[in-house]
């Protein structure tokens, strides 16, 4: 049994509607992500197979984080498709950030097609331990 098809673990990459005049060209897959909090930062992991550091574009604008990456494959001329599960040229997904994220301090690295974003919180919003005193 293929564990990986577990319902709760799998999110099918959905195809988003195209935006603007680009029409068909702009079709993008929505990559599955993990988001967790650790060490005064949010961490985001996204599966972007086929995306290279050069074809990846990460932007923060007005508290909107956009991830966009073009899938770059080497395909010989004259190839015809006989079966396809990945049917788009790029991945794209957007998130709204809350105000405590320090947009200037975001770090990103991509390895083996997995993007790891570290979104640190502003120092004023870092976690503090609250002592509970006995009454």
């Amino acid at each position: 049994m293929n564990e990986i098809t577990r319902q709760e673990a799998t999110r099918e990459p959905r195809v988003q509607g195209s935006e603007g005049a680009g029409g068909e060209r702009d079709r993008a897959l929505q990559p599955p992500v993990d988001i967790f909090e650790e060490g005064n930062a949010l961490h985001l992991l996204a599966d972007l197979p086929g995306v290279t550091p050069e074809s990846l574009n990460i932007e923060v604008d007005n508290n909107i984080l956009s991830l966009e990456g073009e899938i770059r494959l080497e395909m010989p001329e004259g190839m015809t498709a006989i079966y396809a599960e990945v049917r788009a040229q790029r991945f794209a997904r957007r998130f709204t950030l809350s105000h405590e994220i320090d947009g200037d301090a975001i770090e990103a690295r991509i390895e083996n097609g997995v993007l790891h974003l570290r979104l640190p919180k502003k120092p004023s919003h870092q976690r503090r331990r609250i002592e509970v005193r006995a009454a």
Partner: protein, 153 residues
Amino acid sequence: MFGDLRRFDSGSPWGGDWFREWLDEVFPEPGATNIRAVPRGTYPMINIGRTDDAVRVYVFAAGLAAGDLELSLQDNVLTVQGERKVAADESEGDARRPYFRRERAGGSFARSIALPEGLDADRAEARWRNGVFEITLPKREELKPRRIEIQSA
């Protein structure tokens, strides 16, 4: 030269696809499903293309390194198997790490897919880059397209 993935788009028109996905969800298909069909978004996703002299299989396995994927070919059925650890698995016992989303698949997987007949498994090659494995399976000589000369009578 990088091709265009839309070449894989030989099937249905894409405009209404979100609608069909939604329909599939709400009204599951009453008919028979291919026994080897997988749900959409299964990890890893696979594309297959064909040229005149080879069949190329692309396995979209983000997070796997070269040694993490095992490939085998028996007759014309290609099996890919391996295991992917995602951070979500490693920290299962770590209650101090709050999760907001866990969409990435983790664990072991095995997928089989039928390829066209007449491939030369001995000359197969596999390459790996940016989380995509590319397997090239040359066609046997006798199956390559051949030009037929027309002789004048």
